[in-house]
Point group: C2
Chain length 241, copies 2
DNA sequence: TCAAAAGTGTTATTGGTACACCCATGG
DNA sequence: CCATGGGTGTACCAATAACACTTTTGA
């Protein structure tokens, strides 16, 4: 177990990452569960080293849980109410895990450092779930993808942070053409459409959607994809470079 | 002179405010000039007290320079490169102002505190310039409105911060209908149009602009405004509540 | 030959742009 | 009655939505 207060982190400032993936027509969020009795879920988070930028810190935190560095990443908001502290959460957790904390997992200095009020900068990341093998870090019991509409209750304001991330993603999706980061290398038009429908939680008309996406002129049409199904084979597409 | 390190501020985290006003068909930024030899301009900035939210801190900083609390305020981005520090600026300033710093304006502890790397959260504010009497604070030599296209060279990354603020304002203008915060209580349609033209730095067609704005259904048409000019008197409008 | 899903074309509808015209005002 | 700027109506264009039809595929 590392003791953050002993490293040269910036105090009272953290980064929370909303790592978004897409599978089975659903938008997913990568959420670790903490290795303590009591069912605590928390977004991948971390602190900022003196010698790294906030973007680098976010990327380091991402890499720790996903194993990948080359990920689409966007800062979306800072969260800073006065009472934003994990003291309540930590006290409850320590009460439920006395045997572990008997071994002094945190010392007093550590506890004071980490339970102060923290301001957090939110980042969201878009990843191709096929390329990511979620990794536990040393305080995780497990880590898993959750449907964004059915997230576990997370500590502090993490559920709210996901909400803001989704809001920002919707605003930026058409603007920045970032949706394709959630898809594999090649994909069918139907997959793109279902992705959009998952993100916006509403249906799109098939033909008009296809026209709109193709008119962006960023996709390259490849060979057809024969699925074995008894219907016309769809084309595969790839993001043109 | 206050010594920030002695107050209970959050370390290495600051807030920079881009206070925007509108006059003479130009978008203006309120920029203080520091009371030191050497021509140093800096955005209204400050630190965050332990017992206030980041939004409250921004509002406090705004009120100090404008005298008003009830201002449209929006957080737009955190700035956090590794080398973001005002050490270079402060050293230059102290060299140019040895007589003042002979009196130990900063002590060593103070200097170390304030020259560390700082992460800054940017806010932009929209104000009705008629309602604001710019106020110097105790480190300002003067404070003035500058045309956003003709800003003085400010310390650190403050010019870049203004750029990002303008970018965000443009994105949010139609979305959030916030432009009217820059205008007086009542205004003509031409004034609204000129405001938009100043913000987007491009012309709009008069008739179409009027239609677009009226179609928003947020304006209330009042009596005509007789200016004494030899032309048809324009209607006054007010934001409907 | 049939069902399912893909591809594409054709027609409304809408939102924005361009052009035109008329109106009120004070000199 | 004229110059100036304000208000509005109409025609046009492009982007989107709605509707329809054809094609491909494997059973």
């Amino acid at each position: 177990m590392h003791h953050p207060s002993e490293k040269d982190y910036i105090h009272q400032l953290s980064i929370d990452c909303v790592i978004l993936g897409y599978q089975d027509r659903q938008l997913k969020v990568l959420v670790p569960k903490l290795d303590f009795r009591g069912d605590f879920w928390a977004l991948p988070s971390g602190f900022i080293l003196q010698e790294e930028s906030i973007d680098e810190a976010a990327r380091r935190i991402l890499e720790e849980r996903t194993g990948i560095r080359d990920i689409y990443l966007d800062q979306f908001r800072a969260f800073g109410p006065t009472d934003r502290t994990n003291r309540a959460f930590l006290e409850r957790m320590m009460r439920l895990n006395e045997e572990k904390f008997g071994e002094e997992l945190f010392n007093r200095k550590e506890f004071d450092w980490i339970t102060r009020r923290f301001i957090s900068i939110g980042y969201y990341a878009l990843v191709d779930m096929n390329k990511v093998v979620p990794r536990k870090n040393d305080i995780d019991e497990s880590i898993a993808w959750y449907n964004i509409r059915n997230l576990p209750p997370m500590i502090m304001d993490h559920n709210e942070i996901v909400g803001k991330a989704l809001e920002t993603l919707r605003l930026n999706l058409d603007e920045k053409l970032i949706g394709f980061n959630l898809l594999p290398e090649t994909f069918t038009m139907r997959e793109v459409q279902e992705l959009y429908e998952a993100i916006f939680d509403k249906p799109f008309a098939r033909n008009n959607f296809q026209k709109k996406i193709l008119d962006l002129n960023v996709l390259e049409r490849l060979e057809k994809k024969f699925t074995g199904a008894a219907n016309k084979a769809p084309y595969l597409y790839r993001l043109a470079r």
